[in-house]
């Protein structure tokens, strides 16, 4: 078996860049939702601010973190070097500038501005897909992880094509489909095809690695993959064409998700690490949102000539649970693993074997991790339920719930910032850099002239 490629500066700095951008986007989302867009939660979700914040969340936070994590994990998890780190570096600027412009375009409902920036994002993502597919082609043995990642990239491309279609339809009306149906189809392509499939693939590698466990049933893995893909494509078509068989399509997709849920729980149950740390507990709790999302999705898919106000409003709760309860909470848990690792890898390797080095968990606050997660999940469920019950629930209550969720988000962002600030202190400050260099030189000399360590148990 070949060893994985060694981590390089590229695979450390590049992902961090995406993570910083993603965390800033998440922090802005957490503050903006209760302050400027709580009214969007209390009414039907198709408002310019809701659309702007949804794209801030999906592109600014979720996609940025996925791009960064993919750049870092693919070489390690699949044993190949990234095709072009230089290209990945360029993609960051396309993505970052494009997302800022797109969110601003939606916020001010200016579609000409939006089109320019969306094109910038599309170019960036096209280059990213090219870079990653070239990387995946070199994988010596294709497995469930590489296949899931490659498929999710196809859905990413389809999501962007659907988005471009919607945007052009706003400028020159040509689409035969209902605008809302097309938006919902586009959203499901992103949430199920891009986010979920990628999370599934990555989870098959990360969860066994962190829990000291193994995949329990390859057949279950592939069945889940097949069902979800059939489900995504049929849900997309069913929503777009408003077909009566949409509940069947939703059931197939839901069954795929449930199989994945079953497999991950089996991996957790067979783990050798008895106590799960906070990060893994978060990832597991995120997965427990899936049954609720499945039930809500099935209800939403049910053909209904005149949907009730409750059913219309529950679409907001469904979207919040999917994007925040499942995707975001899972990603937060994994970031508690990935960010401390990257920072640790940047600072501590020269000291291993010479002096005590901190564990990854020592780089952030466990208490803040627990509080942030609890407040976030509490606030999310309160927001989802209150928004679904609007207008029976007052605007102030919904706003307060959203504010609670925002506080949870900020606690998580602050906590994840701790390890990164250590990196900035070590490498950004010239004095700290000199001290670190001096420390390294001293350690080198210590290795050349050892013979001073003495041992317990050895002969005197």
């Amino acid at each position: 078996m070949n060893p994985p490629p060694h981590q390089t500066a590229e695979t450390i700095d590049l992902p961090l860049r995406y993570f910083v951008f993603g965390l800033i986007a998440l922090a802005i989302f957490g503050a903006a939702l209760p302050l400027f867009a709580a009214d969007a939660l209390a009414q039907h979700h198709y408002t310019h601010r809701a659309v702007a914040l949804t794209h801030l969340l999906t592109l600014g936070w979720i996609t940025s973190v996925i791009l960064g994590a993919t750049i870092q994990l693919v070489p390690v998890a699949l044993g190949v070097k990234l095709h072009s780190p230089r290209l990945a570096r360029r993609v960051f600027w396309f993505h970052a500038i494009g997302v800022i412009g797109m969110v601003a375009g939606f916020w001010f409902w200016n579609f000409k501005t939006l089109l320019w920036f969306a094109t910038l994002v599309s170019v960036g993502l096209a280059l990213f897909i090219y870079n990653l597919l070239r990387t995946l082609r070199r994988v010596p043995r294709q497995d469930a992880v590489s296949v899931h990642i490659a498929t999710s990239l196809i859905y990413l491309a389809l999501t962007f094509l659907a988005g471009q279609y919607l945007m052009h339809d706003k400028l020159i009306v040509f689409s035969p489909f209902s605008v809302l149906s097309a938006i919902h189809a586009h959203a499901h392509l992103a949430a199920m095809g891009w986010f979920t499939l990628l999370i599934m693939g990555v989870s098959y590698r990360l969860i066994p690695m962190f829990t000291l466990s193994d995949i329990q049933s390859p057949r279950r893995v592939w069945t889940a993959y097949a069902l979800l893909n059939i489900g995504i494509l049929s849900v997309f078509t069913g929503i777009l064409l408003r077909q009566n068989w949409l509940p069947l399509a939703a059931s197939v997709a839901g069954l795929g998700l449930m199989l994945w849920f079953w497999e991950i729980n089996a991996i957790f149950r067979k783990r050798k690490r008895a106590q799960l740390d906070g990060a893994l507990q978060q990832a597991r709790i995120a997965l427990f949102h899936l049954p609720a999302i499945f039930v809500l999705g099935l209800w939403q898919s049910w053909p209904d000539g005149h949907p009730s106000l409750l059913k219309m409003q529950a679409q907001t709760g469904y979207g919040l649970l999917m994007l925040l309860g499942f995707v975001t909470f899972f990603m937060m848990g994994m970031l508690y693993k990935v960010i401390p690792f990257l920072v640790w890898y940047k600072i501590y390797p020269p000291l291993v074997g010479r002096q005590p080095v901190p564990k990854l968990q020592d780089l952030y606050s466990a208490a803040l991790e627990r509080w942030g997660a609890a407040i976030f999940i509490g606030g999310l469920w309160a927001t989802s339920i209150s928004a679904s019950l609007a207008p029976a629930v007052s605007f102030r209550v919904i706003q307060t719930c959203a504010a609670l969720m925002g506080i949870g988000i900020w606690l998580v962002v602050i906590n994840l910032w701790f390890p990164m600030s250590r990196l900035i202190l070590q490498h950004g400050c010239p004095l700290a850099r000199c001290l670190l260099y001096w420390e390294k030189q001293k350690s080198k000399h210590a290795v050349r002239a050892p013979l001073s360590i003495v041992h317990a148990g050895g002969p005197k």
């Binding site: 000291l212 106590q275 074997g353 290795v447 360590i453 005197k460």
Partner: protein
């Protein structure tokens, strides 16, 4: 790192136990358990003051294997009378959680 306290005669070759003891001071930063109790140190051989260590990371995708190899070498070179330390990766058979020592299992069971 807990510094061991007993010195060795100047010319006597290092013992396997002494090497194992110093390896107990190198921890896996993710799991928090030392490499010996984690069961990733497969074999230690000493000949002519040259220490050869076989290492099997917990996962074939372990991103830390290079750091751990360097750390092992650094720690072992600091043992009295060790002139060279060669660390070799062994992937077959793969690491299995059953290789964790009893102390390691107790540590993992109690650790939050």
């Amino acid at each position: 790192m807990t510094q061991p306290t007993v010195s060795m005669p100047e010319e006597s070759p290092p013992s396997v136990e002494a090497v194992r003891s110093v390896l107990r001071t190198v921890n896996d930063p993710e799991i928090g358990l030392n490499l010996v109790d984690l069961g990733v140190v497969r074999d230690i051989q000493i000949a002519d003051k040259i220490v050869r260590i076989s290492l099997t990371p917990t996962s074939p995708i372990c991103p830390l294997y290079q750091v751990l190899m360097d750390g092992i070498r650094t720690a072992v070179l600091a043992v009295t009378n060790v002139q060279e330390c060669l660390v070799q990766l062994v992937w077959d058979p793969p690491w299995d959680p059953s290789m964790i020592s009893e102390e390691g299992k107790a540590f993992l069971a109690n650790r939050q």
